[in-house]
């Protein structure tokens, strides 16, 4: 359902490679079943033609990869960025995590990406091929004679259903429109949780977080988590934990992480996308974003390079800490 085609991207990449603008292309490479694409550095036109894919499963946010890729690669890298990825891109630049000159960013429009779990809930197991057909996906499985038709908009990732912006906030070149910031309902779910009683809320998170297997995928995919050594990996930190000893530690990991990315999280949605246990981690971060918006005025991390997040800035308009305390019952 993407407006821009795979061939257009391959052509663009190949021409930028051959005219020497870039030396490598960070793109998505073909998998086994149509949906399992893997990020890859392409260095030749042949490789691009053979393996580069752009389809409804290119959810991976490349911005974080630029930290390690620019560090290890001598030369300029072409990166294709969806609108949401450009916010992470800016945020990483704000934090001086990679050198801007080493990257050539091409903004590409995005109509939303598909959640394989949702897709499989409709089609069942045994997917062998996925084709696009207007507003639908035609999914061939080994169990059905005819391909199963699935409406694209019914199987979008949560983050895409609640897409906050189709605007590219960073690029060297655009393919398609710059796009607009759009209205989203992304805080609705947070409001529902706020409306719970403290006990209900505790039970909600207890249930979700107790399913965590501490694989760290959420942290490792998160563009705001780019510490050279995470405190949870550091044997010297005293809180290094590979497995949570109890439910307190389980929650501690997530709460510490949410605090650490507060004001820096762009709400890119990677944490929830990658979680093998389908834990709605984005809700924790969105709560912080919602609170920041309400307490200090609208703020979108990554909307521009160099902006000072309200939590690390001071203005005389800032509300008094006591006011936060007084407001705690407003929504209840």
């Amino acid at each position: 359902m993407q407006k821009i085609t795979q061939n257009q991207l391959i052509e663009k990449a190949a021409s930028l490679l051959s005219d020497g603008t870039v030396n490598a292309v960070l793109g998505w490479s073909r998998g086994e079943f149509g949906y399992d694409v893997t990020p890859k550095m392409f260095k030749t036109e042949e490789d691009l033609k053979e393996n580069f894919v752009w389809n409804d499963f290119c959810g991976v946010n490349f911005s974080k990869y630029l930290v390690s890729k620019t560090d290890r690669f001598d030369g300029k890298i072409l990166v294709f960025l969806k609108p949401c990825d450009t916010y992470s891109f800016n945020q990483l630049l704000t934090e001086h995590r990679f050198e801007r000159e080493k990257v050539y960013a091409v903004g590409i429009p995005c109509e939303g990406m598909v959640d394989v779990i949702k897709l499989k809930a409709v089609t069942g197991e045994g997917i062998s091929e996925i084709k696009e057909d207007g507003e639908n996906l035609l999914v061939t499985t080994i169990y059905e004679d005819a391909p199963v038709k699935v409406a694209f908009k019914d199987v979008l990732l949560e983050r895409c259903i609640n897409c906050k912006s189709k605007k590219h906030v960073a690029y060297d070149e655009l393919m398609g429109d710059e796009g607009e910031v759009i209205e989203s309902k992304r805080f609705d779910e947070v409001a529902k949780i706020e409306a719970m009683t403290p006990d209900e809320r505790f039970a909600f998170w207890q249930n979700e977080l107790s399913r965590c297997i501490r694989c760290n995928a959420c942290r490792d995919a998160c563009p705001a988590c780019t510490c050279e050594k995470c405190v949870f990996d550091n044997p010297q930190s005293g809180v290094e934990n590979k497995a949570p000893a109890n439910s307190f530690e389980e929650k501690m990991f997530h709460i510490i992480r949410a605090y650490h990315v507060a004001g820096r999280c762009t709400d890119c949605g990677e944490c929830s996308r990658v979680c093998p246990q389908n834990i709605p981690l984005h809700l924790l971060n969105r709560k912080f974003i919602k609170d920041i918006n309400e307490f200090y005025g609208e703020y979108q991390a990554g909307a521009e390079v160099g902006s000072r997040a309200p939590l690390v800035d001071y203005t005389t308009e800032d509300l008094e800490p006591g006011e936060v305390f007084d407001r705690r019952d407003i929504d209840a």
Binding site: E32, D36, K40, G126, R211, A221, P276
Partner: protein, 341 residues
């Protein structure tokens, strides 16, 4: 061969749960499944398999090994072991049953890991043949039969019936207890079922994946292959693949200071983690390339070298569906082994 109507499955579960803790795959969020302890109301999931593998039953993600209390100059050693209960795991898939053999070869060879051993002894495994394999399944690559899984008891499920066959004395004892609900039958339906499964397996996208290129003695051949660089290039080092894998077995043993003593515990570790091989002299796996290579070389070369050619992947497909960047053992096998499939 015994059979029982699926209407009576709840009574069967109830009967088993009278004498042992019973765990079955139950529905979790969003169509995924998880092993839950059975109690009235918990239903057998129709999902193919659980996200977390059943290795937890024998090698829990975290377990206390022992405790030390200090008073003055005395140290008291406290036995806090808890792996003493009888339990039954029901509905285990063929791939996962095989994974127990992979783990056995590690934990039951000298020196025997007594924690693992007593759990293995207490546990009864009831397997279930797969009626709806996923595109990510490739158990056949490793010679595993989803038509007739191993285990203490093998079961086959049809629309309305379940068939049982005991393979061990533990299995026989379990079926003995269920005699009020089961009746003798011949193998006709099960044979048909097996043929159906074979027909499905022959249609799976990974059906032609072979292990021929791999096995013991291949370290030299693969270790310095430049392709590792590319394959590992996007790996996040998150360890999801190792934590969902039924055969990944690495662990760490640590001491937790309680203030009055120490609790010594063991927890899963992962070769994908940066501190995994950190030693007094430093770390011999400096980048993700070395860590990534280790995971796959272990499964495809080192383990078979030490275990009569047995591979330590069972083709369950968990790493295929759960890796955040869709990098996995199949992609590695195809690239490194140059296997066409």
């Amino acid at each position: 061969m015994l059979k029982c109507s699926l209407d009576k499955i709840n009574s069967v579960f109830e009967e088993i749960a009278k004498t042992a803790k019973l765990y079955i795959p139950a529905d979790d969020k969003d169509g995924s499944a998880v092993y839950k302890q059975w109690e009235n109301g918990i239903e057998w999931s129709s999902s193919l398999n659980t996200v977390r593998s059943p290795k937890d039953f024998f090698l829990p993600q975290m377990e206390n090994l022992m405790e030390f209390k200090t008073e003055g100059k005395n140290i008291e050693v406290i036995d806090n072991r808890c792996e003493t209960e009888d339990f039954v795991i029901f509905g285990v898939r063929a791939c996962d049953v095989k994974s127990f053999e992979v783990l056995d070869r590690v934990f039951l060879s000298e020196p025997v890991d007594s924690y693992y051993a007593s759990r293995r002894e207490k546990g009864v495994i009831v397997s279930t043949a797969c009626s709806k394999p996923s595109e990510t399944c490739f158990c056949k690559t490793f010679g595993i039969s989803p038509e007739e899984p191993e285990g203490d008891v093998t079961t086959w499920k049809t629309e309305d019936e379940i068939f049982f066959k005991a393979n061990t004395s533990k299995g026989e004892a379990l079926l003995e207890k269920l005699s009020a609900y089961t009746e003798e039958c011949d193998e006709t339906v099960v044979t048909e079922q097996k043929e159906k499964i074979s027909a499905i397996m022959a249609k799976l996208p990974l059906k032609d994946l072979k292990t021929d290129a791999f096995g013991g003695g291949k370290t030299e051949e693969f270790f310095n292959n430049p392709v590792w660089e590319e394959l590992s290039g996007s790996c996040l080092g998150c360890g999801t693949c190792t934590f969902v894998c039924p055969t990944c077995q690495c662990y760490d043993i640590k001491d937790f200071n309680t203030g009055k003593g120490v609790i010594r515990f063991r927890c899963w570790d992962s070769c994908m983690y940066s501190e995994f091989t950190k030693m007094a002299h430093g770390n011999n796996r400096i980048t993700q390339k070395e860590r990534f290579r280790q995971r796959f070389m272990h499964k495809l070369v080192y383990y078979p070298e030490n275990n009569d050619g047995m591979f330590s992947c069972v083709g369950c497909g968990r790493c295929l569906s759960k890796c955040p960047i869709s990098m996995n053992i199949v992609k590695v096998m195809k690239k490194i082994g140059d296997v066409d499939a």
